[in-house]
């Protein structure tokens, strides 16, 4: 074989030195763990065990909403009795249940309609604001995200019930206080999502619009808002999910039975001996609406966001992780 022949062969098979070793080494570790190119079976197993551990109880609770008997622990066959067919005790017929459902949806809708536009405005303001204080404001905006919810709830309770000064004195416990409380903590999520999108959009599009003769308002309406749409829709759904499964703030801001929400109802009745699988149905509704909210938000944000630019879904991913954790 010629020298050039060897050179050519080496070029053609660059991976040759990394091929299987003919010399057998002594076995110090089981083959499975020794092979660095093998699948990490142990880690895979651990992951699946954890997932089963975390999801099975919820799955079982959801399954029992379809039990045909009254028991929430002994399976007596499948039925839709607690969902619909029982004319007085199913989740959609028993007035206690339907009231909690309706009130939860009411709060979620109000929270969504108030926190989203407000959050968009704050995010736009924070993005424009340069100079003294802007850095601090940007940082402080994140504080509500990490404030223990119980602390926020108790503080709001004190402020609304003890302080006799405007505006706090105007807010009474009940639906009003619940909406204010929920808006207070969900606003930060909107700001974070919209601001990260705003940062990835950059100032060029708006400048281009201004350059082409658009007034500042027209540039906002015709260019910035359409580009922010995925973030705005995603924010709305996140706010919805946050509101639907919030317990602490909503509980503290409530007044009487008329302001009971799904989580509050679950909390109050979970240990009751007389409770039927309709409660499981209610829990199922909560889980499913939350999952749908976050899932759709994620899809909108990634799908619509990809149309304009790519690669900045992480903020939402972090948030949805934070939220469902």
């Amino acid at each position: 074989m010629t020298v050039t022949g060897i050179g050519a062969r080496e070029l053609a098979t660059p991976a040759a030195p990394a091929g299987p070793e003919p010399v057998r080494r002594r076995r110090l570790l089981p083959a499975v763990l020794r092979n660095p190119w093998g699948r990490p079976r142990f880690l895979v197993l651990t992951t699946w065990v954890y997932i089963a551990w975390a999801l099975l109880p919820v799955g079982i609770a959801m399954l029992f909403s379809f039990n045909s008997g009254r028991s929430r622990s002994v399976w007596q066959g499948f039925s839709l009795r607690w969902w619909w067919t029982d004319p007085s005790f199913s989740v959609f017929h028993d007035p206690d249940y339907t009231h909690a459902l309706v009130h939860s949806l009411e709060l979620a809708a109000l929270d969504m309609l108030i926190a989203t536009p407000l959050g968009v405005l704050l995010a736009l303001g924070l993005a424009r604001w340069r100079g003294r204080g802007s850095g601090a404001a940007n940082g402080l905006m994140l504080v509500p995200l990490v404030t223990p919810e119980i602390v926020m709830a108790v503080s709001l309770l004190v402020v609304f019930t003890q302080l006799a000064i405007v505006p706090f004195a105007l807010i009474h416990l009940g639906t009003g206080a619940q909406v204010v409380g929920q808006v207070t903590f969900s606003l930060s999520y909107v700001v974070v999502i919209v601001r990260s999108r705003l940062a990835s959009i950059g100032p060029e599009y708006e400048e281009a619009a201004r350059d082409l003769g658009a007034t500042p308002i027209a540039a906002l309406r015709l260019v910035l808002l359409p580009l922010l749409l995925p973030a705005i829709l995603a924010s709305m759904l996140i706010v919805f999910a946050l509101s639907i499964d919030d317990f602490v703030v909503t509980q503290y801001m409530s007044s009487n039975a008329s302001t009971t929400t799904i989580p509050m109802f679950l909390y109050a009745n979970a240990r009751g001996g007389t409770t039927t699988p309709a409660l499981n149905a209610l829990a199922t509704i909560l889980v499913v609406t939350t999952l749908i909210g976050i899932g759709v938000a994620y899809l909108i944000y990634t799908a619509l966001g990809r149309r304009a630019s790519t690669g900045e879904v992480s903020a939402l991913r972090d948030l949805s992780g934070l939220e469902t954790a």
Binding site: E204, L212, G213
Partner: protein, 381 residues
Amino acid sequence: MASGEVILRGLTKRFDDQLAVDGIDATINGGEFFSLLGPSGCGKTTTLRMIAGFERPTAGEIVLDGVDVASVPPHERNVHTVFQNYALFPHLNVFDNVAFGLRRRKLAKDEVRRRVQEALALVELHGLANRTPRQLSGGQQQRVALARALVLRPAVLLLDEPLGALDAKIRKQLRVELKALQEEVGITFIFVTHDQEEALSMSDRVAVMNAGRVEQVGSPPEVYEDPATVFVADFLGVSNLMEAEAVGSGRGECMVRVGEFVLRAGCGDTAACGAVKIVARPERLELLSHEDQRENRLPGMVERTVYVGASRQVIVRLPTGAAIQASVTNTGDAEMYRQGKPVSVYVPAGALRVLASGPAGERSDPAVPASEHAEPSGVRS
């Protein structure tokens, strides 16, 4: 119709502690292709953004067709921009992108349609009106950006490195097209680039910028052949910049000493004396055999030869330690430029420029009053 004349007077921009643009004076004639050329960070974009209205000047005037527009908001200036990454609206298709500005002016539907189609035809994109920007190649996006600005018939078009995002081949092609387009529409183009070849090949005049100041304004041959400052000579291609000492002058010429050799220099600041810098373009030098006895020679040794097809770049090391680069046409006689061979570099007096030394970048042109360059522009933190 507006003529598109732009006059910058003492234009200055300071960001916090950074002086980005440091008192620029320039007159850009109507219908001219004018380039701002300079290294990264020298203030080209900032200057352009002030003309567009995105930055408010710290001081100075921007006079557009006789009116100072320094405090007019961008949407009211008859000046449009082609952004470096085009900034085409991703949620609108090509037609709506181009129509955006026309619709802001509340033109009738038919008029909008007609003018958009005209503009798309001008940049040869008729068939693509319904595509979104993502479905276009870089070169096509660039044309849409051009059409979007030109459709408004601005007095002045600002272009910030419009070819920067394209690959070398399309860039060369678009260079020619852009120049042809400018001649066709007759609008003033202010073109920002850090690519000297781009600036020299397209512009009517070039302003070479350094550290927020304009070092020299002139036609491409002027700035290339007659660099006014050391910076300009150095920035525009290889210029064989060398330290020398002026040892006497007369009759528009000047004797300069390089090491132990004295050369006759025929252009530049021939009245200078003392420490100076001299420059000579590689293509103006000749390589002679070692024994040649002509005047204006510098002996040296061939250090390296780079073959570039039509010519060879020969790098000659002088006894002073400096290296000088000569560009010789390829005659096939490779032996002459073999590595290590002693040669003589002939520097024609007419090709040797004297630039007064001193703070880098200070003007050597005696026509400029001293007050205008009292502060050396090389000072920059």
